[in-house]
Symmetry: C2
Amino acid sequence: MKVTLHRGTFIQELQTVQRAISSKTTIPILTGVKIQLSHQGLTLTGSNADISIETFLSATNEKANMQIEQTGAIVLQARFFGEIVRRLPEETFTLEVIENNQVLITSGKASFTVNGLDADNYPHLPVVETNQQLTIPVEVLNQLISETVFAVSQHESRPILTGVHMTLKNNQLVAVATDSHRLSQRTIPLESQSDQIDIVIPGKSLTELSRSLAETDEQIDISIMENQVLFETETMKFYSRLLEGTYPDTNRLIPTSFNTEIEFSVPALLAAIERASLLSHEGRNNIVKLSITDQDVILYGNSPEVGKVEESLSYDKVSGDPLDISFNPDYMKAALRAFGDTTIAIKFISAIRPFTLEPTEGQASFIQLITPVRTN
Amino acid sequence: MKVTLHRGTFIQELQTVQRAISSKTTIPILTGVKIQLSHQGLTLTGSNADISIETFLSATNEKANMQIEQTGAIVLQARFFGEIVRRLPEETFTLEVIENNQVLITSGKASFTVNGLDADNYPHLPVVETNQQLTIPVEVLNQLISETVFAVSQHESRPILTGVHMTLKNNQLVAVATDSHRLSQRTIPLESQSDQIDIVIPGKSLTELSRSLAETDEQIDISIMENQVLFETETMKFYSRLLEGTYPDTNRLIPTSFNTEIEFSVPALLAAIERASLLSHEGRNNIVKLSITDQDVILYGNSPEVGKVEESLSYDKVSGDPLDISFNPDYMKAALRAFGDTTIAIKFISAIRPFTLEPTEGQASFIQLITPVRTN
């Protein structure tokens, strides 16, 4: 293998596959990046137990300015190799496999000789054989992820809850996540492109996927296999394992009738919750109290050790029964951040039943649920 | 105590004194900031075992827009109080001591009640009684610090070496730091303003001082007491304890005759050393080798576990005997960074004797020393 190419372009590709590479793996070859050169171009692969990323840099890509002298493949320790390439003195560099899997990296007057590993020993990526496929805009996928992934469980006691449940049925793609204290569900209409889909994707995989996807108006192809899912754009393949097991039936958790409703501007409510949570974080119990009457809506935080906070909230509309309800402000902050700069309706049944949050425009397509904290 | 003032201006003052406040102190009241209100203005104080910072916000400062209703003093837990003030909804806020050292913080519709501590229990700062005083531009002090402080020892085995030695004698202010592997010394001419000065200031204090000083053309007054030093600007007093003991005589360490000299552009040499140190950091021995002959100057790094690097260096001028010398690239990187974008001369005696680095213009005023590593 011998190739000369543009350093900056190569570094971008390497950064993408490095997202899948951990230095803490128990399989030594997986600390490496697999570099494969054909006459068509350069393929980089990184992988860990959960995700694998493959990028392709075409020989015809003008920015890459690739001069291919000899095809071949090698595996190089990813972090170390990346640091070398980043610090090379010239705009282009040459990568050449010499004897015994050693690699010569040259740029200007600097030359590195580093030890590589035989690419034949690198694990093979899954072969895609499925008829379960769909295509959606990258932007929509990113939105689905950012609106749900924060609500997955961080605990391994119920592994299935560490994933986002995605289903496609009756032309509706539904993504839902819950850690059993709160829930977030987004529904998007999608012309049926596949059989019925029902998978659970690890939250961590989705977070990495989202970081790897540039803000584009591209489409992304999703292929679902036995225990893997592949997300594929023009230049990148992102594989994730799927979680095994049955996701709980979350539909029955979402209430449909309410006794108190109130509408807020999200940024104003979020700022008030952030202030109140300063106190609850310092104290022993991380809760704040919302008190709703006809006259006013007041947010309270009280931690005897440090002090108390009280704030009369601005709201757009209120209706129904008066209510005092306590909740974890961190769940509320995460929920509000997922809504962004908009207006929402919060609907309550009672002080001990979960309450819902929905945008005042386009309800039903996005709903969040938070379980209150009983205080007596 | 009751005062209303501009939030942003107050936060700036608080940030400055917070540099001196640690949450890990064994004296609980020192986790707090002391707030003192007189009719002249607001004084904030923060302190830990090593440094104390006091700032003064004048009642006549227009940006502060201060309305003083009642003078007084209180101590508030600094981090927590700072977070509250940062998140308040309006541009101004009111601070009022109510009963039992409780403080009411109000802004817009938000009101916090937090527990404070009696300001009478806060330790007193040292009283300045000295005739050892000097005044220098802030800019010069910052330069002195940045050019020497990186070379102080990080180990407590010889505590005196964790400080920067400053002496004033014969109209020369000399700052020197050494960790016994390398040394950095800056000399500035200074019209004698005081008796002979000879103190050792903790490196950590100087780093914090430097961060607290804005880039200005102001002067700073330095007062030296028995075991304290006070740095004073118009709005800030910065106290540091001094290190006790005798600083070693570093003058005798600096060689005066050499057998090999070479001149480099600092940025080019730094980039090459950074590349070579990538390999030495991965390997077992953190050393690189410089090989100087009439024909060329080559930098080598070799770590059998990971690979090797070789780079032919560009230099401005070379003279004297050929030489192979090995050294820790981290010392070289720190030394080069202190020179900035300039040209330097490196002067060697032999492969086992310390070598010096000096700017090619204005030598003598700034000199660094690095001890090589014996490799056989």
